[in-house]
């Protein structure tokens, strides 16, 4: 439905929820997290791609002659990202289907995410979706930015020190060194973000966490302005210039539709030839 309302401007990103209390809200058990992700997505893919589905699985009642509506816009399901902090199974899932892989990135050091992303790229190639460096990778990141670096550090430190995820633990300086967190000027954010491709290869999407650590709304809105005005345009330009020609853009509704139309046209043509 959202895909229709948004005229195709929808990607779906899936994450499993990483704390125990989340699962019982949906009547589930966290120990089934991976099997649930695998079964549910396998079903979702069929519901999108087959008009009438007969299905039976472990986690929900069977479906008989079931049609999910509305059907995907133009018959093209949204592009899917599988998000993960630590599970190799999710990288494997993304690679198997040739979907995008989104590495959370923000909570753990890059050494871990290098292994996770390399696994996804290697398996993407293994499953025949194209060379490893053409796999579709997204990364998280988190920043606090002010025009002046010292102002950014001074203003953000009390929020950092008391933040739910990393508060009362490592110092701001330690966490900045170990994770993608950047606290500083627009240029510092740009410099650090441009380094990511050196570890992970050329990638397609960079997500920034901006509303974090309990920042007030007004500050978050200022952050969005600074990011949009001074950081993102430079990053787009620089990353486009650095990305080799053979590395694809992340798919959009238009490109997925064009690819589907091409397949249909080829099939029609082949049929014509047979006749």
């Amino acid at each position: 439905m959202l895909q229709h309302l948004a005229d195709g401007r929808v990607d779906l990103m899936m994450g499993r929820g990483n704390t125990g209390p989340v699962y019982p809200w949906f009547g589930q058990d966290i120990r089934d997290g991976i099997p649930l992700a695998i079964e549910n997505y396998a079903l979702l893919r069929r519901l999108w791609r087959e008009d009438v589905v007969d299905w039976e699985g472990r986690f929900r009642t069977p479906l008989q002659s079931f049609t999910s509506t509305p059907r995907p816009l133009d018959g093209v399901p949204p592009f899917v990202w599988h998000g993960s902090i630590r599970s190799p199974e999710i990288a494997e899932q993304a690679a198997y289907y040739g979907d995008g892989f989104f590495a959370n990135h923000i909570f753990w050091p890059k050494e871990h995410f290098v292994r996770l992303i390399n696994l996804y790229r290697r398996r993407f190639e293994h499953y025949g979706h194209g060379a490893a460096d053409r796999a579709i990778v997204g990364l998280g990141g988190q920043v606090f930015v002010r025009r002046n670096s010292q102002d950014a550090v001074r203003e953000f430190r009390p929020y950092f020190d008391n933040a739910p995820v990393y508060g009362h633990g490592p110092s701001l300086e330690e966490f900045t060194e170990q994770t993608p967190l950047t606290v500083g000027s627009p240029q510092e954010v740009i410099d650090k973000t441009l380094k990511f491709r050196e570890y992970f290869g050329d990638y397609q999407r960079q997500l920034f966490l901006m509303d974090h650590a309990g920042l007030p709304l007004k500050t978050v809105l200022e952050q969005l302005d600074l990011l949009g005005e001074e950081v993102v345009p430079v990053l787009r330009k620089e990353l486009d210039a650095l990305r080799p020609a053979h590395v694809p853009e992340a798919p959009t509704h238009a490109s997925l539709k064009a690819a589907a139309d091409l397949v249909t046209a080829r099939e029609a043509h082949a049929e014509e030839m047979v006749r």
Binding site: P35, I38, E89, E92, F107, W108, G169, Q178
Partner: protein, 205 residues
Amino acid sequence: MSSRKLAVVSAGLRVPSSTRLLADQLAAATLRVLREQGVEASSDVIELRDHAHDLTNNLLTGFPSATLRGAIDTVVEADGLIVVSPIFNASYSGLFKTFFDVLDAGSLAGKPVLMGATGGTARHSLALEHALRPLFAYLRSIVAPTAVFAASEDWGTDGGDGRALRERIDRAAHELARLIGDRHPDSPLDPFDAPTPFEQLLAAR
């Protein structure tokens, strides 16, 4: 035979520390026994005090700092492990437990371990059996039958000559050396190098 590596984990807090002293004596005895058996061996000591902040940070953030990562790798990759904690309130110290709490599940499975503990009086000695031994049983380590407790009197006070402690250290060292000698280290499959193929994940349901 290739050279064997011992990792020695000491949770002593002071300098000098009787916990570290016991750890060093256990390590020296084990290395001596191994060398007598013609086994080349070396040891690395991890002082948990040096990692106290990083251990707390690891609990909070879920990942170790690079320095703590190095210490964890030393322990996980060792052929044998000597662990020594002071006894606090009838159990291992919180710092000692925290180190083992941040290891990945299964890290110490099959690992030969020699346990030691220190305390003010010998009344605390059974903490080794009711606190440390169940911990390493849970971690599926292979624990030497002899655990070594050193109380104040073992260090030469109260008219003691320390012989009883030395004999116990020696017995424990022989046991650990045998466990290390018997060990055929298997390298567990790395899920990032050898993932479960997706067809298998799909079929598992």
